[in-house]
Symmetry: C2
Subunit: 144 residues, 2 copies
Amino acid sequence: MKDSKQILSDHKVSVTNPRILVIEALLENNNPLTVDELQIKLKNKVAKSTLYRVLNDLKKINILNEFTNPENAIVVELLLEDDSHHHHLFCSDCGEIIDIQMGDEFERTLSKEIKRLEKKFNFSIEDHRLELFGKCTDLCENCS
Amino acid sequence: MKDSKQILSDHKVSVTNPRILVIEALLENNNPLTVDELQIKLKNKVAKSTLYRVLNDLKKINILNEFTNPENAIVVELLLEDDSHHHHLFCSDCGEIIDIQMGDEFERTLSKEIKRLEKKFNFSIEDHRLELFGKCTDLCENCS
DNA sequence: AGAATAAATGAGAATTATTCTCATTTTTTA
DNA sequence: TAAAAAATGAGAATAATTCTCATTTATTCT
């Protein structure tokens, strides 16, 4: 597992206990967590106000991806690799969020479309996000 | 413009003034609005609690699409046509949200990928959402 | 390593967004 | 048109997030 202290010093921010704990909690999970889930995982070892502050700090140094689940609750995940472009699959039964990679053909087709849309709307498009919604049929330990 | 009273009675819910006003405010706009923008548009003609209730009512009868903007604020739009499948383009300068249609080739490629992912994760995938982020370069009246 | 400086933290207050309660009003039923 | 059902407004309650500030911790500079 990556070294949380290293991550912080690499990004030239001070290395503090709450930051280490938050990063480690996120590193332990393969998939994104809601703020509540993260708070529970940290078990009061980090004050609520500090948790929100730390999340904002991680956003500032661009190692945190933040989005919302279908219930509009904020969800976060660490983004450490440069090549970590991925998307998300949400289960409406258990709330699980799974990181997914799309195939090259998809990303190529999307790039073409994006060029078309940039012209059509006179936009410069810098990023995109794809979210898939469904139900995990029987493998998930949370779904009965 | 569509008739808001008709829309409500078609969906077998009672036709009330707040519902009519909310639907008309949403119909006037081509593009999605945040709850605040909607509230401002309605200028206290609908109580805040009623606005939220009406939005929930419209969700229940499946004519409201709800998602979040990059600041995680809730955004809503009416979904009246069956064939209205579309996606969204967000401007990070002015906050504008534009409805976009992707070409057939894109949706075909996406369908193929979805089939692959359904097998890989043993999921049944029912819906998807694509969000594009960028800046409108000079056409928007809000961007200087 | 230790003192001085700068930055971060914890606790809870403040703010904001959303939901809930309930007496009154409006709509629907028939 | 009367009775029954449903929706509304106003504000209280709740939940999520940010802010404040005195104290603690980390960094910097000898």
